[in-house]
C-alpha cells in the first residue's frame, strides 16, 4: 500500500475522456473562482490545466449583489456575488480570444433566469469557435416560477437542459446543486434530458450572522458555502450521483490538495474542479496536478484511468482466515 513506492521513469498518462469531452488531465477550475482565467495568468500556465471553467455568463451583463458579498466560516467561506458578469457579448469579444491565445481549454458556465435565457446563451456560444464545452448552472432562481432554483426540481432542471441541448452540439455539463433531498433524482432527470456530463457540487446554501451587530454577514442574508468544509458533502454527492447514472461526473467541492482531488477520483469522478483553493493559493491547480502525477508514480500506476473509480466498498477483514483465533477459541 504505497509502503515501497516505485517511482516510474515515464510520466503517467493523465488524459481523461468524459463522453464527448477529451481533456489532457483531470484538473479544471471551478466557475466563479478563477475569474475569466486571465486573472491567473501571472500564477498559472493556463495551457497546463485540464480546462478553465469561466465565471458564470448571462445574456446581459449583471452588476451582482450589494456588498458585503463574502464571509469566512470554519474551513469555508460564504459568497453571494450575485452572478456578476460581463455578459455573453463582452465575454466573446474581450475574454475568450486572449484565453484561447494562451492555450486554455475553455468551458463556459451559463446561467439565466428563464429557460429561454439558457437556450439563447447556448445558441450564441455554439456560434463562437474554440469553446470546448458548456456547463449549465441550474442553481439560479427561476424568475418565471417564483424564484425557486431550477436545480432543486428535476422537471425544471430537465427543461433547461433540453432547451440547451436543442441549441448546441457542444459537450454539455450540468452542474448539480447539493441542496436537494435526492441528488440522484436530479441527476437522472438531466441526463435523460441530454446532459453528457454532470458536475457536482455547487455551493451549499448557508448563512452567517454577526452576534454583535445582530446582522447577517452577507447583504444577501443567505449565500453559498464552499471550501474544505463542504468536501465530505461533495464526495457523498458524487458517490450518490455515480450510483444513479452512468454518465461521467466531475467532482467539485473543497479540493485543496492532490489528496482531496484523489478522493473524488477514486470514488469515480472522471475529473475535478478546484474552486475556493484558487482564491486562497492562486497556484493551487498546478500544485494539485503535480501532486496527482507524483501520487500515480508512487503507486506505480501508469494512467489516471487505472485509478478513477477503483473505490473498494467491500468490508475487509484481513484477519478473518481460519488460522486466526476468535476469542478464547
Amino acid at each position: 500500500m504505497g509502503q515501497n513506492p516505485t517511482d516510474h521513469g515515464s510520466a503517467p498518462d493523465l488524459r481523461v475522456t468524459l463522453g464527448p469531452l477529451q481533456l489532457a488531465n483531470p484538473v479544471l477550475t471551478a466557475s466563479g473562482t478563477f475569474g475569466y482565467g486571465l486573472e491567473f495568468a501571472d500564477f498559472v500556465d493556463l495551457s497546463r490545466l485540464g480546462g478553465v471553467v469561466v465565471k458564470g455568463i448571462s445574456l446581459k451583463p449583471r452588476p451582482g449583489n450589494p456588498p458585503p458579498r463574502l464571509a469566512e466560516t470554519p474551513s469555508g467561506m460564504l459568497n453571494a456575488i450575485g452572478l456578476e458578469n460581463v455578459g455573453v457579448e463582452k465575454f466573446l469579444t474581450d475574454k475568450l480570444p486572449p484565453l484561447l491565445k494562451r492555450g486554455a481549454v475553455v468551458i463556459v458556465n451559463i446561467l439565466g433566469n428563464t429557460v429561454e435565457d439558457y437556450a439563447e446563451l447556448a445558441r450564441i456560444l455554439s456560434g463562437a469557435s474554440g469553446i470546448a464545452a458548456l456547463e449549465i448552472n441550474i442553481s439560479c432562481p427561476n424568475v418565471k416560477e417564483g424564484g425557486m432554483a431550477f436545480g432543486t426540481d428535476g422537471r425544471m432542471a430537465a427543461r433547461v437542459v433540453a432547451a440547451v441541448r436543442a441549441n448546441t452540439s457542444l459537450p454539455l455539463i450540468t452542474k448539480l446543486s447539493p441542496n436537494v433531498t435526492s441528488i440522484a433524482d436530479i441527476a437522472r432527470a438531466v441526463v435523460d434530458a441530454g446532459s453528457d456530463i454532470l458536475s457536482c457540487i455547487n455551493t451549499v446554501s448557508a448563512m452567517a450572522v454577526d452576534p454583535f451587530s445582530r446582522r447577517p454577514k452577507l447583504a444577501n442574508i443567505v449565500g453559498g458555502l464552499s471550501g474544505p468544509a463542504v468536501k465530505p458533502i461533495a464526495v457523498r454527492c458524487v458517490y450518490e450521483t455515480l450510483r444513479a447514472v452512468s454518465c461521467p461526473v466531475i467532482g467539485i467541492g473543497g479540493i485543496q490538495t492532490a489528496l482531496d482531488a484523489l478522493e473524488f477520483l477514486v470514488v469515480g469522478a472522471s475529473a475535478v474542479q478546484v474552486g475556493t483553493a484558487n482564491l486562497v493559493r492562486p497556484t493551487s491547480c498546478l500544485e494539485i496536478l503535480d501532486g496527482i502525477e507524483r501520487f500515480l508514480r508512487q503507486q506505480g500506476l501508469g494512467a489516471i484511468t487505472d485509478y478513477i473509480g477503483t473505490l473498494d466498498t467491500q468490508c475487509r477483514f484481513p484477519f478473518a482466515d481460519e488460522s486466526c483465533p476468535v476469542g478464547i477459541a
Binding site: T33, G35, G64, S75, N79, L279
Partner: protein, 290 residues
C-alpha cells in the same frame, strides 16, 4: 508588474503600540515591483484549513535593496491575532504585489497632505518614505502628515519623519496626545480659514473617517486618493467579492460596482457611493468565549 505567490519569512515582529504589530518579511520576488498603496494577501493558518482565507495588508515600508517589506497590523480578529503572535522565523504564504498603488505627485512644487486615521498610517508611510527620497527630497516641509488615533497608546512613533523635516500633526480623540479631536478636524483646522490648500491629498483610515473626509472633499477638486477596504477572498480580481458601490466614470448618473482589490484599493473618494455602503461590522475584541 507580475504578481507572485511566495513563501515569505517573518524576520522581525515588533509591538509598536497598543494592539499594533509591525512585521518585517523577506519576500525577494514580491518586493522588486511593489509600490506604495499596493497590498499583499497573507495566509493566516499554518496548519489545517481554519482560518481559511488570506488577509489583505498594505505595504507599510519597502526595503527594496534587501528584498524586505513591512506590514503594520492592528489586531481586530482571529487572523490578525494569529499573525501578531507569529515568531520571527515563521514562513507565511504571501501573494503580491496587488492592486493599484498611489499616483505620485507630479513634482516637488506640490504641497501634499497625508491623512491617517489609526492603522491608516500603514500604507501612507510607504508613500512618505518614497516621496522623501524622490520628489520631495529637497522639500520635506511640503509633506503635511495628519495622524490621528483614539488615544495616545495606539499611536505609532513618527519621530523619524519629523526629524527629516516632514510636518506632522498628531491628534487623538481623547486629547491624550497632540490635538484633541478627529484627524479630519485637525486637517480642517490647518487649512480652513487660510487660503492655502494642499495640492494633493492621500488618506487612509476607518470608514467614519473616510466619509467625513469625503464630505470635506466633495466641494474641492484637487487630486485626492484614499486607500479603501472591503472583505476580500482572493485579492486578485477573481472572486468579485470585494465590490463597493461607485459612480460609473463613463456615466456619472449611473452606478456600478468597483472591486477594491483590482480597481483600488486606492480610489478618489468622490467616486464612491458612500450612501450605499453597508459597513463591515466592527466587532469589539472583548473575548466572550474561549
Amino acid at each position: 508588474m507580475p504578481r507572485v505567490q511566495e513563501k515569505a519569512k517573518i524576520l522581525e515582529n515588533h509591538r509598536e503600540a497598543e494592539g499594533i504589530h509591525r512585521l518585517v518579511l523577506y519576500a525577494p520576488r514580491i518586493v522588486p515591483t511593489a509600490r506604495p498603496g499596493q497590498f499583499v494577501m497573507v495566509r493566516v493558518a499554518s496548519e489545517g484549513s481554519d482560518p481559511l482565507l488570506a488577509r489583505p495588508f498594505s505595504f507599510h515600508r519597502l526595503h527594496k535593496d534587501d528584498g524586505l517589506f513591512e506590514i503594520l497590523l492592528r489586531v481586530v480578529g482571529t487572523g490578525t491575532r494569529i499573525l501578531s503572535q507569529r515568531p520571527p522565523g515563521t514562513a507565511v504564504d504571501v501573494v503580491g504585489p496587488l492592486g493599484r498603488g498611489f499616483t505620485p505627485p507630479s513634482g516637488p512644487h506640490e504641497t501634499v497632505a497625508f491623512v491617517a486615521g489609526g492603522i491608516g498610517i500603514a500604507p501612507l508611510r510607504a508613500l512618505l518614505d518614497e516621496l522623501i527620497v524622490k520628489t520631495h527630497k529637497d522639500h520635506p516641509e511640503r509633506l503635511h502628515v495628519f495622524y490621528g488615533a483614539r488615544t495616545r497608546s495606539e499611536l505609532v512613533p513618527l519621530s523619524p519623519l519629523k526629524r527629516l523635516g516632514v510636518q506632522v500633526v498628531v491628534s487623538t480623540d481623547d486629547g491624550s496626545s497632540g490635538e484633541a479631536g478627529t484627524v479630519v478636524e485637525a486637517l480642517r483646522r490647518r487649512y480652513e480659514g487660510t487660503l492655502e490648500l494642499p495640492d494633493r491629498l492621500y488618506a487612509c483610515g476607518s470608514l467614519a473617517m473616510q466619509v467625513s473626509l469625503a464630505r470635506w472633499a466633495s466641494g474641492r477638486d484637487f487630486p485626492m486618493e484614499m486607500s479603501l477596504e472591503s472583505m476580500m477572498a482572493c485579492g486578485i480580481g477573481a472572486c468579485l467579492g470585494c465590490a463597493l458601490p461607485a459612480l460609473d466614470p463613463d456615466d456619472p448618473q449611473a452606478e456600478r460596482y468597483v472591486h477594491v482589490c483590482q480597481d483600488g484599493p486606492v480610489f478618489d473618494p468622490r467616486r464612491i457611493r458612500w450612501d450605499k455602503i453597508q459597513p463591515i461590522m466592527a466587532r469589539p475584541l472583548t473575548s466572550v468565549s474561549p
